[in-house]
């Protein structure tokens, strides 16, 4: 088990190096001059050149990459071109808002998705199933930015029940978490349904029934426990995606998170921040996959870690 963990964590390093090269190249390929953007529209060429020198952008790209990687190995993600603060500070500031928003979105989405999925699977082809699946497909089909805007209009502006944006109290989480979770809930519901339907055809379910277990016990105890295995992978993947910060939702709800940071950094071609964020995403993704694999082992005893 420990060896497995160690091995997996070691694999992270080459992946991160690959990602860093890929991102570095991709980001520099996008047209746009950060010196110009940082200096501002009314800057003179002298200002721009000054900024370029200050930011070290006058050096050849290979040298920039080498410097960047050197610093990276020392745990230094560099300094934001736009704000002059360290990238780790910029990301650190935005990580928690995105993290908590993700956690709350996932919590309700997974709970609702599981419930809908289980009901639909057990009431197959009955009205509950049709309603549940129609709801789930609707959740997938709603443009999230539109949903967000409509919810703001309804709950914040017309009714005045909830704040429309920002992150001040627990109330601020409700609308963005709902909007962000809708798609996830839909995916979880569909996945749970099909997975559980497959599981409920298994022989051991019949065994359970022949033992005199009631349906609740069969579904939630024997069925869901097995059906969860694929659902967990998918949920982990979704969690990883959300942790990256949703650009659209964060901008609709003025959420001070990573998605907003990314789009701002892209607008300014703030290379160190973009690169730093991408590395964090990659790392998160790998870690989440690892956690998912570990969960797999807990859920599915047939898997053993070598």
């Amino acid at each position: 088990m420990l060896r497995f963990l160690g091995k997996r964590l070691l694999q992270v390093i080459p992946i991160l190096i690959l990602v860093s090269i890929f991102i570095f190249l991709f980001v520099h390929m996008i047209p746009g001059d950060p010196a110009r953007l940082v200096a501002g529209e009314d800057a003179t060429i002298e200002d721009v050149e000054l900024v370029r020198k200050e930011l070290g952008l006058d050096k050849p790209i290979t040298e920039q990459y080498v410097t960047y990687m050197k610093n990276l190995f020392r745990g230094d993600f560099g300094t934001s071109l736009k704000t002059n603060r360290s990238v780790s500070y910029e990301i650190g500031e935005r990580f928690m808002p995105t993290f908590w928003l993700t956690v709350w979105s996932m919590l309700w989405a997974v709970a609702a998705g599981l419930l809908i999925g289980v009901i639909s699977a057990t009431k197959r082809n009955k009205w509950q199933d049709y309603l549940g699946m129609f709801g789930a497909v609707s959740g997938l089909s709603l443009p999230s930015f539109w949903l967000g805007l409509m919810l703001i209009q309804l709950f914040a502006v017309t009714l005045g029940w909830l704040p429309s944006g920002g992150m001040d109290s627990w109330k601020s989480y409700i609308l963005p978490a709902f909007t962000l979770g809708t798609g996830v809930a839909a995916v979880v519901a569909r996945f749970t349904r099909s997975s559980l339907m497959d599981v409920l055809k298994e022989d051991y379910i019949r065994t359970g029934r022949s033992k005199g277990l009631n349906e609740r016990r069969i579904t939630w105890g024997h069925g869901l426990r097995n059906a969860m295995i694929p659902v967990v992978t998918m949920t982990g993947l979704q969690f990883g995606f959300l942790l990256g910060g949703s650009v659209v939702i964060e901008s609709v709800f003025s959420w001070p998170g990573l998605g907003k940071l990314l789009i701002d950094s892209v607008a300014y071609r703030d290379y160190p921040v973009i690169q730093g964020e991408m590395l964090i995403f990659a790392l998160e993704f790998i870690l989440i996959n690892l956690v998912v694999d570990l969960l797999y082992g807990i859920l599915n005893p047939q898997i053993r870690y070598e």
């Binding site: 991709f26 746009g32 930015f145 539109w146 805007l149 209009q153 990314l262 789009i263 892209v266 973009i274």
Partner: protein, 301 residues
């Protein structure tokens, strides 16, 4: 249940044969598909949408680009069913004409993605080994890459415009198609008769086209349909972020993006294109679900 009135063996088998309706794959599919009621309705809705895409621009009650500055942002009325936008253009007409764009973006981007993904998936699955892992790792990277950054990058490199939006959205679709096609390729490949064909010495290209590709078609069709919905959504999101269609094209996402500034004085500008996106995506998703249930041999009654 039919009780067969026969008097000897030959007659019995004869009757059995006659009474078993000869089910072609299509008839079988159609029978199963008809049972998916939501999907069945969606199918007709999609047909209707496609029809609208062709005739929509010709039957709009108003010119979709002609401004009317005297009549801006008026709410829904008998004259303008869905009201007018910031330039006084009829929103109903624009939504109607926009069907073509959304379907065009959705279909072509997924088609491109499907072609690319199918090719990569078949190659990866058929040749295996190095090529396989190379292609699949590429797909993983593409999947893990935040889509928005990718889109911004692609559009920044290629320039704005609908064509490049299609390319950006198509690239999103490639890895998923590749994965799906690869796994069905592996499944088809492992069946004996392909082994047999291979030993006869048929060329790989022929094996792929004659044997592997047909085996993957049904999963491609299903995913294709399901993907159209999300492609339309992605394109709308890009337009919403200002990276999509160029004015004055009545792309729904662009209409919505333009309307959000008027949300509390003229919500209809945002609501109607939003509903159009929702209903269209919903129809494709439901249709995709129905196709999957009807085509997937795993799902039995």
């Amino acid at each position: 249940m039919v009780d067969l009135k026969v008097s000897n063996k030959e007659a019995y088998y004869q009757q059995t044969l006659e009474n078993t309706p000869s089910k072609t794959p299509f008839a079988e599919f159609w029978r199963k598909f008809k049972k998916q009621k939501l999907a069945f309705v969606s199918f007709f809705f999609v047909v209707f949408l496609i029809l609208m895409a062709f005739i929509g621009p010709f039957i709009t009650p108003y010119d979709i680009t002609e401004p009317d500055y005297e009549n801006v942002l008026s709410g829904p009325s008998a004259k303008h069913w869905a009201g007018t936008d910031a330039y006084g253009r009829d929103i109903f007409s624009r939504v109607l004409a926009g069907t073509q764009i959304s379907l065009y973006v959705g279909l072509t981007s997924v088609l491109l993605g499907a072609i690319g993904g199918t090719f990569l998936g078949i190659v990866a699955g058929y040749y295996g080994k190095r090529i396989d892992s190379l292609i699949m790792r590429m797909c993983d990277v593409l999947l893990a890459f935040p889509g928005i950054l990718l889109a911004i990058g692609i559009i920044a490199i290629l320039g704005p415009g609908l064509g490049n939006v299609i390319i950006a959205v198509a690239i999103f679709s490639v890895p998923m198609f590749a994965r799906i096609v690869r796994s069905s390729t592996l499944a088809v490949k492992s069946t004996l008769y392909i082994e047999a064909t291979k030993s006869i010495g048929t060329r790989p290209k022929r094996i792929i086209w004659k044997h592997i590709f047909p085996g993957t078609v049904s999963s491609i069709i299903v995913y294709f349909t399901m993907r159209i919905g999300s492609a339309i959504l992605t394109a709308a999101s890009l337009s919403f972020l200002g990276l999509g269609a160029q004015p004055p094209s009545p792309e729904w996402g662009a209409m919505l993006s333009g309307g959000r500034d008027y949300l509390n004085i003229a919500p209809h500008v945002t609501i109607f294109p939003g509903i159009a996106i929702f209903v269209t995506v919903l129809a494709f998703n439901l249709l995709g679900d129905g196709l999957r249930d009807a085509l997937d041999p795993k799902i039995k009654e």
